[in-house]
Each structure stands twice: as C-alpha cells, then as structure tokens.
Symmetry: C2
Subunit: 249 residues, 2 copies
DNA sequence: CAGTGGTCTAGACCACATC
DNA sequence: ATGTGGTCTAGACCACTGG
C-alpha cells in the first residue's frame, strides 16, 4: 500500500518528489539547520521525517552531492560541504595550475582592504544598488614565493560587515573558508570570463613582469545558495609559469 | 528470489554491477553496435539481455548520460550522442562567447590542410611516436564576418587518412561532426590549458589586431572513448569582443 | 492506444566505519 | 555488533511521444 505523500499534496506543481525534497533540504542548509562540516540526518531518518521512501531521499541527496552542496561518505554519513577542510578538492575554485605540474597550494598575501562604495558596473553583477557599501580586497597569490596572480575582490558591505585586513591576515586557510567561518557566507558556484590584457606598470611591478606583457584577466562572479551573487573579483595572472586549466565533456 | 548474476560472476573484481554494465555498453559503442544519433535498446530490453534489473540498467545509462555519451529523451528512448545535430548544446566544446551576448555559431574558414610529420612535443600529447604521420589544419573562426580565433589543429594521420581541404570545405557542420561522420572518430572529452600570449605579425594580420596585442592561447587535447587522444589544437583568440567562459561548482 | 523513459516504493543484502 | 551509505531487485504508476 502506498504511503500518503504530503510533499506532493502540498505542492500544486508537477515537480518530482525528490526535487521538492531537495529544495527543502537546501532551505534547511540556508537556515543553518546543519552547519558546514556537520553530518545531516541519515537517509532513513530523513525518509521517516518527510514521509517518503529511502530511495527518494537518496535521489534528493544525490542531486545535492552532484552540485557539491553535500558530501557522501560511505559508512560515515552525509556531510554539509565546507571550504575549511577541502584538502581533497583544493582546486575546486582555483583553475590556475603550474606548468611544471608541481601543484602546491599558493600563499595569499593581502595588499589592502578598503571600505567604500561599490564601483558602477560591478554593482550590477552583485545585484547591488549603485552607491551601496562595498569592501575592496587586493591580494597576491604566490607560488613558492613567486607572485602569479593579483586579485581585486569586491564584496557587499552588508554581508561582510567588519571585515578588516587584520582579520584576513590572522586567518589560516582559504578565502572562502574565511567567508564561511567568519561571515556565514557559503560559496557554492561561480562563473568566470577570461580575457587577455596587457600588464600596466603598477601590475607589472607587483607580478614582476614587463609592462605590456600579456596577462590572463579572470573575471569571476561567485554565488551562494539560490544563485545570489556574493563576490566579484578580477584576477590578473601571469602565464609564464602557470596556465588556466579546464575540462570539457 | 534473486536472479543469477552472470556479470558479477564473470568479473572477479568488486566493481558494482551497474559500472560493469556501463563498461559493456561503452564497448558496444566503440564497436559501432549503435551509431551516433541512433537509439539504443530500451531499458527493459537491455535488462533482459544482460540478466539484470531495469534499475541497474538505469544507473548504467545515467552514468553514461552524465558523461554525455548517451542522451535520454522521455517517451522516445535513449540515443547515442552525436555532434551532428547538437543545436541544443552547440557550445559544449566552444567556450568562446561574445561580450555583447549575441551568440550565433561562428563560421569556419579553412586556411590550409597539410600532410606531414607530427611536431615533436605534440607527439607526446597524442600518444604518437616522434615522426609519425600527421595532418595539420589551420582555420579561422569568424563571428559575423569578423575573425576571432585562429586554430592550428594536429591530427594523427592513421585516424584521418584522406582528409583534404576540399573535403573539409565541402562539409556543412562543425569540425567534430565532420570527424564523426567522415572518419568515425567520436569526440567525447577534452582538456584545455589557457595562457596569454602576444600576437605575432602573421597572426595579427589574420585576426586584424595590432602585433603584440594580448591573445588567449587555448591549448586543447581531445579524447575519444577510453581516454585515447585524437586531436591537439591551439586556438589563438582575440578578446576584444569575446571571452573564454567557464562555470565552476 | 502502446511503448518509452521517469518516479516512487519496499525490502534485501553488501561494504565501510566505528565502537 | 551496530549504523551508515551503496547496490540490486521487483513492481507499480506517471509523463511524454507518436501512430
């Protein structure tokens, strides 16, 4: 005898049960019901809680795991994805690789952090009103002491209130780990647009290249749950010893 | 009562049934049992043929559909992926987009096709012996009549015997569609490495930019079933009106 | 209408992790 | 030994497609 299906009944649309459940789980993640790194309830627990079968829970979780929102570990449980212990997928949001193949994680050196207003043009990408408060971070990524990338990062002031150079400098770990633990902002997705530009004199000095030398300009908009943009950045990257890598399928 | 499981019995390793089945299906694809664009047998047919349940067939097919080897269409069947009718996913292997957002498909103009020996350095990427026969194709991609990308393409002579400029020129459709229909070479995956380089005078003339202007250099190795490389190419791309786009998650 | 893939269920068993 | 996710099965029903 089939069980009653409260999820289906509550939603007039024709969305499959497991997708409705997925959206409910995302809502729970947004509501901080389970924190990054923690285990969510077991499949059987969720099945009984939502009144669906374990197979339906499994499909919902599989969809979220495919989007890197959850991580499944056999025998242990299903965990909320986190940027703080990502030594496995360290290069999920870093597509810059060394040509010689020696891929240690780069060091990040903060140049400055400034409060101000969001630049016009960037406001649109972040869904902000022109003139809104914003924080601008500039930093350099260094591989084995050699500067490779100059990042300029623009953040909405409302989400990152209280971000200072001292705090970033004090933090050990990636920038997105910093966002997650210190501001509760969880990065889940990004879109990048890459162009080639000449180095101006200021950038050339920082990256130790000749002025005019071609650089990759990697423009990125980063999103949290629900496709809400939370970061804009431009990375200027020398490709003397590095390249931007991508897999197509 | 559980059925006998011949697949499991035949394989001493501890690979799940659906992965074994997936590999068998890939073998059938390689053996040309089903051609690109054709439908493969229905789930129930495959289930009875291999002595597994429909659910197991479903998981195997889902894995292949996730890798873009098969395409599922509800109510119609499961089809072998093809490059010849890909107006839906036209940009699967083309990451160059127009900055103004008007994304028609570019025209391809062949410059020349030459028989010769594989350049050292590229031989390694293609898994070829140094000095092997190779075919070199140069072409320009034009958006609305304006040249944007200069491609240099190196192909193993053994796989593409008989490829001439006349044949490419006569073909209507994408290059990978040409490979698929004329040579039975099916592209399924690629790896790209992007750097920034200055335009030399010859390239600058073709792309109508100033010599020394920064270009994207997109180096690509393309693979068929089983991870066998079948194409090397370098695309030089002006980013005045275009960019290289990528999604991270 | 029949045939296809898509969803959902229920239950069994397996492999892994931990105690 | 227990609990977790992973696999596999069998069957029912739904949604889409096309004759």
């Amino acid at each position: 005898m089939p069980k009653p299906r409260p999820l289906r009944a509550a939603a007039p649309s024709f969305q499959p049960l497991y997708l409705q459940l997925r959206d409910l789980l995302v809502a729970s993640l947004e509501a901080d019901e389970w924190r990054p790194g923690e285990a969510i309830p077991s499949e059987t627990e969720l099945a009984s809680r939502f009144g669906v079968s374990q197979g339906t829970v499994r499909k919902a979780i599989a969809a979220l795991a495919a989007d890197n929102l959850l991580v499944r570990r056999q025998g242990k449980g299903t965990f909320v994805a986190t940027h703080t212990e990502e030594h496995a997928s360290m290069f999920r949001f870093l597509r810059i690789r060394r040509k010689d193949g020696r891929d240690e994680y780069p060091a990040s050196r903060i140049i400055d952090v400034r409060q101000g207003r969001v630049p016009t043009g960037i406001a649109r990408h972040l869904g902000l009103r022109p003139g809104s408060a914003a924080i601008r971070v500039r930093r350099v990524l260094e591989y084995a002491g050699e500067p490779a990338v100059l990042d300029e990062i623009v953040l909405p002031g409302t989400l990152f209130r209280g971000l200072t150079k001292a705090k970033v400098d004090a933090y050990r770990g990636s920038l997105y780990s910093f966002f997650e633990t210190q501001f509760g902002v969880r990065i889940v997705r990004a879109r990048e647009q890459v162009t080639a530009v000449p180095a101006d004199t200021a950038v050339a000095a920082i990256l130790r290249v000749r002025p005019g030398e071609p650089l990759l300009a990697v423009d990125r908009v980063t999103y949290t749950y629900g496709g809400r943009p939370v970061e804009w950045r431009r990375g200027l990257c020398t490709t003397r010893r590095h390249f931007y890598s991508n897999e197509l399928s």
